[in-house]
Amino acid sequence: MKSSVIVFPGSNCDRDIAVALEKLQFKNSMVWHKETELPKSDLIVVPGGFSYGDYLRSGAIAAKSNILSEVINAGKKGSLILGICNGFQILIECKLLKGALLRNSGLKFISRNIFVKVQSTTNSFFNKYSKNEVLKLNIAHNEGNYFTDKKHLEELENNQLIPIKYCDEKGNINLKNNPNGSINNIAGIFNKDKNILGMMPHPERMVDKILSGEDGLPLFMSLMN
């Protein structure tokens, strides 16, 4: 399996995701944002961080870069694309995913381990999990408060386009366990064809027992199927 990680000025989880991918034997290449061509890859990752300092709107400036038009083309052709945290924000800004990521409802940067519940496994990213499984993942963001209009929200809910929702340790999905005010506790969404995933939690931070767990590993294993 071949993967590409797109690097922007200000990306800072690019090394972390590369380590995770390589641990699972992906042949990974780092692609600088000024490039105009993508190497042939089975998976494209837009990593977390603060591309362009999160200035203007997080993800907005990165969405204008050279390489992004290639990513958009690949996405439209059905390539697998994973946007994590800032990567999710970038995918939203370049309209590969619909909706908006607003300031966290508490107006503070939040970084901690949270729980998400797997809503659907019939896709390329979560097929190694079981439905309703509760995962411990880490979040670290200022703008993870997902918002979209009613119609789109219904579309997301009805077509299993929300793979993970914030919950508590036992899997209860409620307002109390919503860290950022995200509508319907959404932690990640797919596009219609489920080849593009944007998620706020960082699966790459959970692939090592000695750190805080391995709940992110199956996501990368799913992608190898």
């Binding site: 200000g10 989880c13 090394r15 380590v19 995770a20 300092g53 503070k108 940067f109 939040i110």
Partner: protein, 730 residues
């Protein structure tokens, strides 16, 4: 135009200091030169009041690669790996504008570390605020915390720990000390000493604006009601540019094109260029027309004294200019040759085809005044308070009072604003005795802890100085690390007051004694004087940042208890010393009396014995006993694991409060498997270590035999409220 008395004073120079300048130059200065002298000769850059005392500190041993005198200290942790670290204060700017002050403090210390070729791997901080009841405290706390997070998160360096304390002594003068830790191959370290003549001097990073002009002078002047007028000197940080600068510098450092490199910190272009020349015993000539400026019509004075952030000065191999520029272009950063090294030993500045300053480097650096300030030996209170009353308060009540106090409350409200795990090497986050960071791709780690105890230091500066080094040492050992070296940030009032100077001298003496005894050298540091407002100075607050090494990841320990039925041992004797304790402060508002005594021999023996047990894999969890005594330490272990403890009645001490809350030093709590008790006893006895069994791990309930019991969850709830309530939007 000659310099007036008013100009001299407004530059923070004394008249006799200006006369010395005149003698050195053989003439009056112009205003630009006066500005340059004032920046170099002020306390912050020249260490004129502290230098003779700092010289006493031990700074060398077989693991020290670079001690004080460079941008940061460097130690050897084996296999070509070296750790670069330093702590620095940003107190005054943070009081004026907490977000930007704290943010730029983090930015500055990161540059000190990556200037040396190291990739920063962790950030720590020590922050002190006034009383929670003071009107400014909440605003300052939330601003400082989001500033620290805002900068570190964006650059992508995990903030893994620190300490937060409250005391009315900081009401009008908070402390914000930031520490950065980096990793470098020990054969690829970069230094600031210039070498070679006619080498290009290159300016890289952000453009120069009018920010922070005279920041260094501000840091060396005490506050008064007019401080508000100093506002425009606030610097705004740009963590995005810092990240680019970090990556660009590390990329350039892969080959050998850099001769020397120095960040532009306090006093900006002035101190960086002079320091490089002075260390290399060279001259430097700059063309100020070349300086990349953010605003139009900036004067040479403004350019030389600006403290715009995210800038560096590099002396480059003359053949490597093109390649180097390419790298900075890639990262969209300015890269401009602004001058060259010379053999004149002078600083020469040209602007619009005129020479605007010409000063011998030695006059600025070596001839800076050095003072042996008058100091008074601090009086140590020996008075003992009537101790009958201490028995009156119920142990449980006292415990909950301490656990729910600002200083002892759970700090999640703070640490949730810091990305603690970016870079994916944080093995242990904040909340434990030390943070633990894995060396990337290796089976080893470093431990880091930051500590201070201003109350102890106020009561007895010398013993307080010793204590804080010991506590730091203990914190490193408690996670399984071998302590290696420290950095320190000495926050004090005005050195011109003999009483304050006395506190400083004695604290340094204490630090020296402990560091020498423990073979725990000082490799870098910072002194922050003039922490006073309207002549009221803060408590003496030395902050120690220590680093240790763990040579195998499976030896890392935490304070989290592991299994029901296991025993908790205490190492070290409990005498019942309650003066200066959290128990007296939180329950009786008593702040008198001497701090606990430090016995360096016991400290060392106990620590080494604990390390030995850890090495033999006989310890399952560990926690040092510090503020709050045994009972608070046990409660912390319980809350971390959510397992309860059955604590045994004390046998030897007069009252149970004295036993449970005493802050006697050199003690550790260790969780062990019952089956190993014999083996452990044998080792401890052989090494003459005092120990006792204090508790047994059980489910849910935290209790003292025949005294009280409480659910661990209730302990946690008491411990976890204060910050949320204090910072609730109200």
């Amino acid at each position: 135009m000659s310099i007036t008395k008013g100009q001299i004073e407004s530059h923070g120079l004394k008249l006799d200091e200006y006369n010395k300048i005149k003698d050195l130059l053989g003439r009056d200065t112009n205003l630009l030169e006066l500005g340059i002298f004032s920046a170099m000769w002020n306390e912050h850059c020249s260490y004129k009041s502290s230098k003779i005392h700092l010289k006493k500190l031990p700074t060398k041993n077989n693991i020290v690669i670079q001690g004080p005198g460079e941008n940061a200290g460097v130690i050897d942790i084996g296999d070509d790996d070296a750790i670069v670290f330093k702590i620095e204060s940003h107190n005054h700017p943070s009081f004026i504008e907490p977000y930007q002050g704290a943010a730029t403090g983090v930015g500055g210390i990161l540059r000190d570390v990556f200037t040396m070729g190291a990739r920063p791997i962790a950030l720590m901080n020590s922050i002190h605020f006034g009383s929670p009841n003071h009107k400014k405290t909440q605003h300052l706390l939330s601003g400082v915390v989001s500033g620290i997070g805002g900068y570190g998160n964006s650059v992508g360096i995990p903030t893994v720990g620190g300490e937060t304390k409250f005391n009315s002594t900081y009401n009008e003068n908070i402390l914000v000390n930031a520490m950065a830790i980096g990793h470098v191959n020990k054969n690829k370290i970069f230094y600031s000493k210039a070498k070679g003549i006619n080498k290009p001097v290159v300016y890289v990073g952000s453009k120069t604006g009018r920010d922070g002009i005279h920041g260094a002078t501000m840091a060396s002047a005490e506050f008064d009601e007019n401080s508000d007028q100093k506002k425009p000197t606030v610097q705004v940080g740009d963590p995005f540019t810092e990240k680019l600068l970090l990556e660009a510098c590390l990329e350039l450092m892969k080959d050998n094109s850099i001769i020397s490199i120095q960040d532009m910190g306090a006093a900006g272009l002035t101190s960086s260029s002079i320091e490089m020349a002075s260390k290399g015993k060279l001259g430097i000539e700059l063309n100020l027309d070349k300086i990349p400026c953010r605003e139009n019509n900036m004067s040479p004075y403004e350019m030389m004294l600006s403290e715009s952030q995210e800038r560096m000065l590099i002396i480059l191999d003359d053949k490597k200019e093109k390649e180097a520029k390419k790298i900075f272009d890639k990262w969209d950063l300015d890269f401009v040759v602004i001058g060259k090294t010379t053999d004149t030993n002078r600083l020469i500045l040209n602007f619009q085809n005129k020479k605007v300053a010409d000063i011998p480097i030695s006059a600025l650096a070596d001839e800076a005044p050095l003072y042996e300030r008058k100091w008074l030996k601090p009086k140590i209170t020996k008075n003992k308070i009537e101790s009958k009353d201490f028995k009156k308060i119920k142990t449980k009540e006292a415990l909950l009072k301490i656990l729910s106090s600002p200083d002892h409350s759970n700090k999640d409200w703070i640490t949730d604003q810091y990305d603690q795990v970016v870079m994916c090497d944080t093995v242990q986050k904040s909340g434990g005795d030390s943070a633990v960071i894995r060396i990337h791709n290796k089976n080893k780690a470093i431990a880091v802890s930051v500590d201070s105890s201003a109350n102890y230091c106020k009561a007895d500066p010398k013993s307080g100085g010793k204590q804080i080094v010991c506590e730091n040492w203990r914190n490193l050992i408690s996670v399984g690390a071998k302590p290696l070296a420290i950095t320190n940030c000495l926050n004090f009032g005005s050195p011109e007051k003999p009483k304050i100077m006395g506190e400083f001298v004695e604290c340094v003496n204490g630090i020296k004694e402990a560091c020498e005894f423990l073979n725990f050298p000082v490799v870098s540091g910072n002194v922050s004087f003039y922490n006073e407002t309207n002549s009221k100075s803060i408590f003496p607050t030395p902050v120690i940042g220590g680093v240790g090494v763990i040579d195998n990841l499976n030896k890392i320990l935490s304070m989290k208890t592991k299994k029901v039925g296991n025993l908790i041992l205490i190492i070290g004797k409990t005498f019942g010393h309650l003066f200066q304790s959290a128990f007296l402060r939180e329950n009786f508002a008593i702040n008198d009396g001497p701090p606990p005594e430090i016995n360096l021999t016991n400290e060392k023996n106990n620590g080494l014995a604990v390390l030995k047990l850890i090495k033999e894999k006989l310890i399952l969890s560990a926690h040092d006993v510090s503020s709050g005594g045994i009972l608070v330490a046990l409660a912390e272990m319980s809350m971390t694991s959510k397992l309860g403890l059955k604590i045994f009645e004390p046998k030897r001490v007069p009252s149970s409060n004295e036993y449970f809350f005493a802050e006697d030093q050199g003690r550790y709590l260790l969780e062990i498997d019952k089956n190993n008790l014999k083996k452990i006893e044998a080792i401890l006895k052989k090494n003459n270590i005092f120990f006792d069994i204090v508790a047994e791990v059980q489910n849910d309930i935290f209790e003292i035999e025949k005294s009280f019991s409480i659910k661990v969850n209730d302990l946690y709830n008491n411990n976890n409220q204060w910050y949320h309530k204090f910072n609730a939007i109200n």
